[in-house]
Assembly symmetry: C2
Homo-oligomer: 363 residues x 2
């Protein structure tokens, strides 16, 4: 029954979305999970869901996972370190450096603390939204510090792998700067950009294209959640935003005084650095040089897209990436298909032979 | 043979990507197209491509389309107005107010000039990249002014419709502000954001997710092209970037001095205004409230995605939108499917019945 890499009992403190979801996933693999929560009603709910059994004085956890709100995390971790002197204690808060500093200030036994951060998506909170699969394929950051050991890292790697996550090792400061860079700053920039659209409704409705949709999509995120996230990582976020503003100042000045010395160069450098920056993002998406892109016209009718993908399957070709572009008011969409370069030409010929119209790349 | 809405001869001056593509598309519909270009070799190439025949002194165009570089456009439009006193003259430059002002300053007969802007995608320039289909489904802005008439607008609407475009009426100033808002400013912001990634390679590689990919995708655009576009519309772009900077200053201050009066409110207002702004973007994409979203796990194996879409087709459901999310290093992808709300539950049941695993929404 026990299919997990993890050995021993796991104690989860806090049965919100993350704590309950971790419990569900570990129970599916036969791990002995005990749950604790300040609120008896919330605890009962998580137990009823099957996330584990109620904690008792008989427990002897090998691992304690603190899954409470970020501003209570250090306090609870410190208490758990005292209550369970044999256990490794971790947490799941989305910032890491501040919690470690807080623990050290409290005189906690940080030699048994190793922080982590599962980067799991969630639109709704609470145990009621918990699911065992929310960690699948997501990064799970493990944040080693001067007092932690490789054996402890291995234990959290086992936890992450048991949940289907991809374990990633990043020290606390690097983690906080990293999430500011790849997540928190993009959120602020997208929100600021989308807010500008409040000034130009007619033009937005008529002219909006894929570029605008892409750059502003995450501006639809939940403000309540993001107020907390930004407050918890304010320092690194503000630092990167200041660097952004410095570059922005240069672009504005170059546009307003195009004849000033260096002005054209500054705009060119900004665009070129953007090219270089986006090239650092790994993965299948975007202008990934490893793949060739075909653009196929698809009529906006039921079954057309399915027929296209079926026929690509019949040609024995695997899609590496796929995007659908559809302009408002147009009776036609464009399917952008990324495939291995060596099959692109044959696939293009085959699709044309089957009656599909290939279009120019739309970017 | 003549299937076009347009009546009469069309003269195209400038046989680059846009001029040659317009010629090809109009010739396909039997329109009599005559072509002119300073360079005899470039003109010969466009004629050989089938974009029209060489202009001669016998021509009597009803419509002249000036498709030269933005900085030569006003001069050539003025010359064409004199050379063809019966014709309507338009242009295809990506800015409109400056060209009209230049024509008025030159004393040109602007009562026969009506500017336009086909918003057609193009990665490569020149007649050699010309294709009749680049205008399909794209906005074609027609920019009326105090001296132009409804009959002239109708003629350019016929042109746009003949090419498969969606004609849109916007006065020159509104056009220039509009393209700054929906296209030029997003490009600058995406480039500035992507440039920040040059400082954090390790974290970028490990933590990059869909939000970062979306917000920075267009930062991969061609710098040479964008230097010209931004220079031509520098005033409106700089104006919007200044407003953006004003909001950015407020966010940075609130993050750096979280206890200052109004600081939390300011971050909340920024996020809420972002929500409101993105809600103004029409179309099928993003968090469109008209559709329900299902997220289906898809193994990263040949044919899996095609099988999913085939089976959705077999259930008689039309996809309203479709996105594929795939994390680096993960052996699993997530297909995000937007469908009409009334069919969402039945489709979810059917897919589960067919053995697919549905996941939490990943945003």
């Amino acid at each position: 029954m026990n299919a997990a890499r993890l050995n021993g009992q796991v104690r989860i403190v806090g049965t919100g979305l993350l704590g309950t979801s971790i419990g569900l996933a570990l129970r599916e693999q036969g791990v002995d999970v005990v749950l604790a929560n300040r609120s008896p009603a919330a605890l009962r709910l998580a137990v009823d869901y099957g996330a584990g059994r109620e904690a008792s004085s008989e427990d002897s956890p090998a691992l304690v996972i603190v899954a409470v709100s970020p501003d209570s995390t250090a306090e609870i971790v410190a208490a758990e370190l005292i209550a369970h002197p044999e256990a490794l204690v971790t947490d799941v808060a989305s910032v890491k450096a501040g919690i470690l500093a807080d623990l050290i200030a409290r005189g906690a036994d940080v030699a048994r603390y190793l922080g982590s951060h599962p980067m799991a998506g969630r639109e709704k909170g609470g145990a009621i939204s918990a699911r065992a699969d929310i960690f699948l394929g997501r990064p799970w950051v493990i944040a080693p510090h001067a007092g932690s050991t490789v054996e402890q890292e291995r234990m959290l790697e086992d936890l992450a792998l048991d949940l289907g996550s991809v374990p990633i090792r990043l020290e606390p400061d690097a983690h906080d700067r990293g999430v500011a860079l790849v997540s928190h700053v993009p959120q602020v920039v997208a929100s600021l950009l989308a807010a500008r659209l409040l000034d130009g409704q007619d033009a937005v409705a008529a002219l909006a294209g894929q570029g605008l949709r892409d750059t502003t999509r995450i501006a639809a995120s939940d403000p309540e959640l993001w107020i907390q996230i930004l407050a918890a990582n304010a320092g690194p976020v503000a630092h990167i935003l200041e660097e952004f503003r410095h570059d922005l100042d240069g672009v504005i000045e170059a546009l307003e005084r195009p004849d000033a010395p260096g002005a054209p160069t500054r705009v060119a450098a900004m665009l070129t650095r953007g090219n270089q920056g986006v090239a650092r993002i790994p993965g299948k998406h975007g202008g990934d040089a490893r793949y060739a892109t075909l653009v196929v016209q698809v009529a906006d009718e039921p079954g057309e897209l399915a027929r296209l993908l079926t026929e690509i399957g019949e040609e024995g070709v695997n899609l590496e990436d796929f995007r659908l572009e559809h302009s408002p008011n147009a009776q036609i969409g464009f399917a952008e298909i990324a495939v291995l370069p060596e099959v692109a030409r044959d696939l293009a010929d085959a699709l044309i032979g089957r009656g599909w119209a290939l279009a120019e790349s739309r970017r």
